[in-house]
């Protein structure tokens, strides 16, 4: 039998667990919102929604019309990571996009 002293077992950091759970829950709901602008073509907006968000033509057109007529459209509610990805990809296509925590 070894006489070496084993290192103490680290207790799980219980205090951090609730925070992580809250963070996970928080991460699950971020809204991706596309805003109207006067320059982008409506057909281009449809194309971007199909390419980035994987919408079919009908769904993409519905959201484009929301943007055009109402000034904005909630195009996705996703985890923080996914919402950030969409944010960057849609912005790279030149559309006006924001993300915000879902209430």
């Amino acid at each position: 039998m070894s006489t070496e002293t084993l290192p103490p077992v680290e207790k799980p950091k219980e205090s951090s667990r609730p925070e992580e759970k809250i963070k996970e829950a928080f991460d699950k709901s971020w809204n991706v919102i596309v805003w109207n602008d006067p320059v982008n073509l409506t057909t281009y907006v449809v194309h971007v929604f199909m390419r980035v968000l994987g919408f079919n033509k009908e769904k993409a057109t519905k959201h484009m019309l929301e943007v055009h007529q109402l000034g904005r459209s909630l195009v996705a509610t996703e985890t923080r990571e996914r919402a950030e990805f969409y944010h960057q990809q849609i912005q790279a296509f030149g559309l006006n996009v924001t993300i915000e925590p879902s209430s």
């Binding site: 971020w30 006067p38 320059v39 982008n40 073509l41 057909t43 281009y44 449809v46 194309h47 390419r51 033509k57 923080r80 919402a83 950030e84 944010h87 960057q88 912005q91 790279a92 296509f93 030149g94 006006n96 996009v97 924001t98 993300i99 915000e100 925590p101």
Partner: protein, 170 residues
């Protein structure tokens, strides 16, 4: 311009005028894609690298900086392709020019045309009112810079419509 899908590629035929216009657009965009967001005309940076979404995402200044660098990298990745296209279009071809693009390249072309439209609109402060001018008489009353910008936006928009129609039919 005529755009159609052929063999899984977007084939774009351009006449001499369109080729010259696109050559110029590519070269202007190239120069601006090379610039970091902080070195760009602030009016253009405001639309190409808008950080409103970063504020909504509650990003720190450091995170916003990283986000901007990544976005700039996405634009920079197109530079080599733009150089090739501009080189092809600048060569004189009496019968017009032909570009055969993979689908990913078609997206790059659309982004470039759109970025140019956004850039000139931002520089000339063109908004809803100017974009919706009812007739040519109103257009002629605008200062030359704004008038040219609106015409460029209109012509490039028409080219984009043809590309988008070809892609949607595929």
């Amino acid at each position: 311009m005529k755009a159609r899908m052929h063999g899984g590629k977007l084939v774009v035929h351009l006449n001499a005028f369109e080729a010259r216009l696109l050559d110029r657009v590519f070269r202007v965009i190239l120069k601006n894609y090379e610039l970091k967001p902080a070195d760009l005309d602030p009016a253009v940076a405001e639309v190409w690298y808008a950080t409103r979404g970063c504020r909504g995402a509650q990003m720190s200044a450091e995170e916003t900086g990283e986000w901007l660098s990544a976005l700039h990298q996405l634009k920079s990745d197109s530079i080599r392709r733009l150089e090739v296209w501009a080189g092809r279009l600048s060569a004189s071809k009496p019968g017009g020019h032909r570009l055969a693009l993979e689908l990913g390249e078609a997206d790059v072309l659309l982004k470039v045309l759109n970025d140019y439209r956004m850039m000139v609109a931002a520089r000339q402060q063109l908004g809803e009112a100017e974009m919706n001018l009812a007739d040519d008489f109103e257009l002629l009353e605008l200062p030359p810079g704004r008038r040219i910008a609106l015409m460029e936006i209109d012509i490039l928009g028409a080219l984009m419509e043809q590309i988008l129609a070809a892609l949607l039919q595929d």
